[in-house]
């Protein structure tokens, strides 16, 4: 386990949080989307994170008895929210059903905002970890001076 492993882990965290941010942006942008490729209104999407071992080279496995002690985070799946669509009475809408109701995405703006803040803060936390790892390396290099 060398100094760069900490950077790799943080890098995976950054990638994961960035993807989460993209999904939240997509959810916010599609608050009023009534048509999708699969038919019906847009459904909000959410990432599922899983811890995964670092890329295992033969050398690394050979060198360590416990090779997956520093897990990376990885997005394994993007799920669609199972909540029922909100029905809005709007008989003039082209997507309205026979009774005049339009199925709208069940997206709560407050909820998405909170998730947005959480994603931003998690990203920042990973950046801080990268900076701290770099600072440690730089401090080690200062020993020689």
């Amino acid at each position: 386990m060398d100094f760069f492993d900490a950077l790799h882990t943080s890098s995976a965290g950054l990638t994961a949080q960035r993807l989460r941010m993209n999904l939240i942006s997509g959810n916010l942008a599609n608050v009023h989307t009534t048509r999708t490729k699969d038919g019906g209104p847009y459904r909000r999407k959410e990432p599922i994170f899983a811890a995964q071992a670092q890329d295992m080279s033969f050398e690394r496995i050979l060198a360590s008895q416990n090779p997956d002690n520093l897990p990376l985070v990885k997005v394994v799946e993007i799920i669609e929210d199972g909540r029922n669509p909100l029905l809005k009475y709007d008989p003039n809408h082209p997507d309205a059903d026979a009774e005049g109701y339009v199925a709208m995405p069940n997206i709560n703006l407050m909820e998405e905002m909170v998730n947005l803040i959480s994603a931003t803060r998690s990203y920042e936390a990973n950046i801080t970890a990268v900076k701290a790892a770099k600072e440690m390396a730089m401090k080690a290099l200062d020993i020689g001076q």
């Binding site: 950077l7 890098s11 950054l14 990638t15 990268v130 770099k134 390396a137 730089m138 290099l141 020689g144």
Partner: protein, 100 residues
């Protein structure tokens, strides 16, 4: 971005160190070889950072942070190499200043 295209500088350091150290050591893995290997590693990291910047600029890669981290890695490795070089040079200068 200038900082990480120092391949030529790295090569000159490799050459100068290799010629300087091979004369002094005769062991199986000489200090020169060791230095050569680590300088090659630094060079590889610089190349990685270079490729990462190219990928970002041409739109093949869209993660800014991966490029930044590659650049930081190259930077830290290069600084480590410079510290070793400074130490070697200062040792050489100490010897040169010796009174005979």
């Amino acid at each position: 971005m200038k900082e990480i295209t120092l391949d030529n500088d790295v090569k000159t350091i490799i050459d100068s160190h290799a010629s300087k150290n091979q004369a002094t050591t005769t062991g199986s893995t000489s200090f020169g070889e060791l230095l050569n290997n680590s300088i090659n590693k630094v060079s590889r990291l610089q190349n990685e950072a270079n490729q990462s910047i190219e990928a970002l600029a041409s739109g093949r890669q869209k993660d800014i942070h991966n490029t930044m981290i590659a650049m930081e890695k190259a930077g830290v490795a290069f600084r480590l190499m410079m510290e070793v070089r400074n130490k070697v040079i200062s040792a050489y200068e100490t010897i040169m200043r010796m009174q005979v």
